[in-house]
């Protein structure tokens, strides 16, 4: 067994173990960061595969994303640190079944799939190739990704920002009616501060 194999096995074990811990820990913050560890281990495996750019990019993408996920977990979840015991999984039997099926399906692909086996040409620089691709055939895809991201940004701001074009969210903002033009779904107190935002997540 070569050194690379050893690292691969260790990282694979870390990825699976921390992925499993995500569902066992009570704390939302811990769960997010266990997921981060899992992704980092996968990133290292990508490095071993020679995908240096993708592996490293996975680190920074996932670090930011898991940080934000942890923030939102703490913002929305009651008992975010798991001070009171709770069950982190729903429909666990179905999920376990789906997991097993997915595992075997992917394993089947891995075992029976017909993979090309020619080695990477030694002078190929994946980052350069990727860059050329972005400026070549995939330019349209690339630019439309920009438009998609813009739509995401606008949607995010429109939904989450407190101060909008029509003034503060709490000044006159009401939940929408159940039917167009109908009464607000929740007729709360006069300040319009809705009390209906209990988050029954677990």
């Amino acid at each position: 067994m070569s050194f690379v194999d050893l690292i691969f096995l260790i990282c694979g074990a870390i990825a699976i173990f921390s992925g499993w811990r995500v569902f066992c820990t009570d704390s939302m913050v811990r769960a997010s960061f266990f997921l981060l560890i899992s992704f980092i281990a996968v990133g290292v495996i990508m490095l071993l595969l020679g995908a240096v750019y993708l592996g490293v990019a996975l680190f920074f993408m996932m670090a930011v994303e898991m940080m934000v996920m942890a923030l939102f977990m703490v913002m929305f979840m009651m008992n975010p640190a798991g001070l009171n015991p709770m069950k982190m999984v729903h429909q666990d039997k179905f999920a376990a079944l789906a997991g097993v099926v997915a595992f075997f399906a992917l394993s089947a692909v891995a075992v029976f799939g017909d993979f090309p086996d020619q080695p990477r040409p030694s002078d190929l620089d994946p980052v350069v190739t990727l860059g050329k691709e972005l400026l070549g055939d995939s330019m349209l895809v690339f630019e439309s990704a920009g438009v998609t991201l813009l739509a995401t940004m606008i949607g995010v701001v429109a939904m989450s920002s407190h101060r909008g074009r029509y003034g503060d969210a709490n000044a006159g903002s009401r939940p929408p009616g159940l039917e167009p033009g109908g009464m607000p779904a929740f007729s709360g107190d006069q300040e319009g501060s809705s009390g209906g935002h209990h988050h029954h997540h677990h």
């Binding site: 009651m78 001070l83 009171n84 015991p85 319009g192 501060s193 009390g195 935002h197 209990h198």
Partner: protein
């Protein structure tokens, strides 16, 4: 007792001391911190020695016990200007002269490190904050996900938010009276939504500030304007230094305290002035916050009022000052930065007045109306405590802005040194 080499090295470090102020002694503490053998720390966790400055009152015993026990042991206390608690009186280290602090603290550090001093006993009982109400072995919660007292503390329940139409879990705690970032003695119940202050309820007012001797005399009869103004300049520089420290400019603050220790009449503060402008101090955290309303400005008086454009300065009623061509300094912005700015301007002008008055030549003439360090005395009436306005001023501010605004206001009552006996002490 023998120490290993690491402890010998550690003994040479400046002693990390947490200053616990049981009186309005921040100015003295700041001067004492110039001693290179000690170093003030912001949290008792970082301290080896506790300096208890002032006379503890029975009302704060519990709070004192909490802070005292939070020093990782073995730790010891030094008592200055006050009697040790009975339970700690045995072998207590008492400081007679402020200048001795470095030596005494250093000796204490050596004793603690060598094991000669075993540390002080804890004052609070060694038990969890609240009885564990739990089901599991380690005190896991009560019923449901939110109830109970997991690990000995209750969990927050949602309340309406200050700004959003959301319901949020408030973060509620009481602060003080021994916080290094609050005025000494101020105790408050604070509720935060996120890091924004949702409510700030003052539970006990800061310790009254005692008039320096020369102001005491100015209320009795004519005193030298030079002396009076030097004391004033010193005071404002110390206030400014504290604001700098809160805003993470500890080194500059230290230099300001060092300057304040040896002020000379006519000295120029231009270098400091320029430095603060160019480094953006007047645009730092909270600088544009804490604008006082009219009644708040009048209540606070002094610099805070003049920073809002309320040009009352009792010195215009004094012939001595009038002969020096005195005119009050007024600004109209009224925010924290305006008060910081005016502190420095006042200090500069006081130094100028001290110079113009010459040593002992020009004296004050009016004893009925004297401009004190905060506000004015009118017919023997001294400024009263104004911390109640914080309840209106701080909510809605982000934490660091709120702390900066607090550091721009001097709201404690003013007391004459002799009046301490019938005061709160």
């Amino acid at each position: 007792m023998a120490m290993n080499w690491l402890r010998q090295l550690a003994a040479k470090a400046p002693v990390p001391v947490y200053p616990l102020l049981a009186g309005n002694l921040r100015t003295d503490i700041q001067t004492m911190g110039l001693d290179p053998r000690i170093e003030w720390v912001a949290s008792p966790r970082h301290a080896r020695v506790l300096l208890v400055a002032g006379e503890l009152s029975p009302a704060t015993d519990r709070a004192f016990g909490k802070v005292h026990d939070q020093l990782p042991g073995p730790a010891a206390s030094i008592w200055w200007q006050g009697q040790p608690l009975d339970s700690l009186a045995d072998g207590a280290t008492i400081l007679d002269k402020a200048d001795d602090l470095g030596r005494v603290a250093h000796q204490l550090q050596v004793d603690l490190l060598s094991g000669k001093h075993r540390g002080e006993p804890a004052l609070c009982p060694d038990e969890p904050p609240e009885p564990w109400q739990g089901l599991g072995d380690i005190g896991h919660g009560g019923e449901g996900m939110m109830g109970g007292k997991p690990y000995g503390r209750s969990m927050a329940m949602p309340t309406d938010d200050l700004r959003d139409g959301l319901q949020l879990d408030p973060m509620a705690f009481s602060l003080g009276p021994f916080c290094s970032f609050l005025p000494p003695g101020l105790e408050a119940n604070v509720t935060l939504h996120g890091d924004v202050v949702a409510s700030f309820e003052v539970c006990s007012t800061p310790y009254p500030s005692l008039l320096p001797g020369v102001f005491e005399k100015a209320l009795e009869g004519p005193v030298s304007i030079t002396e009076l103004e030097l004391a004033r300049a010193r005071h404002y520089l110390h206030q400014l230094g504290h604001a700098l420290w809160i805003n993470q400019s500890g080194t500059v603050a230290h230099a300001v305290f060092a300057k304040a220790r040896s002020l000379k009449p006519g000295e120029s503060l231009n270098k400091l002035k320029k430095q603060l402008i160019y480094t953006g101090f007047y645009r730092s955290a909270g600088a544009d916050k804490g604008v006082l309303g009219d009644s708040q400005a009048l209540m606070t008086g002094g610099v805070a009022a003049r920073a809002c454009g309320r040009g009352s300065d009792a010195r215009v009623d004094d012939d001595g000052y009038r002969s020096l061509g005195f005119k009050p300094l007024v600004m109209d912005r009224g925010d924290a930065a305006a008060r910081w700015w005016l502190w420095l301007e006042e200090a500069q002008r006081s130094l100028q007045l001290a110079h113009d008055a010459g040593p002992g030549h020009v004296k004050t003439s009016n004893t009925r109306s004297v401009e004190l360090l905060r506000g004015a005395s009118r017919d023997g009436q001294l400024p009263e405590d104004g911390t109640a306005m914080l309840e209106d001023l701080l909510p809605g501010l982000e934490w660091s802005e709120a702390m900066a605004v607090l550091a721009s206001l001097d709201l404690s009552a003013v007391q004459r040194a002799g009046a301490g006996a019938e005061g709160t002490l």
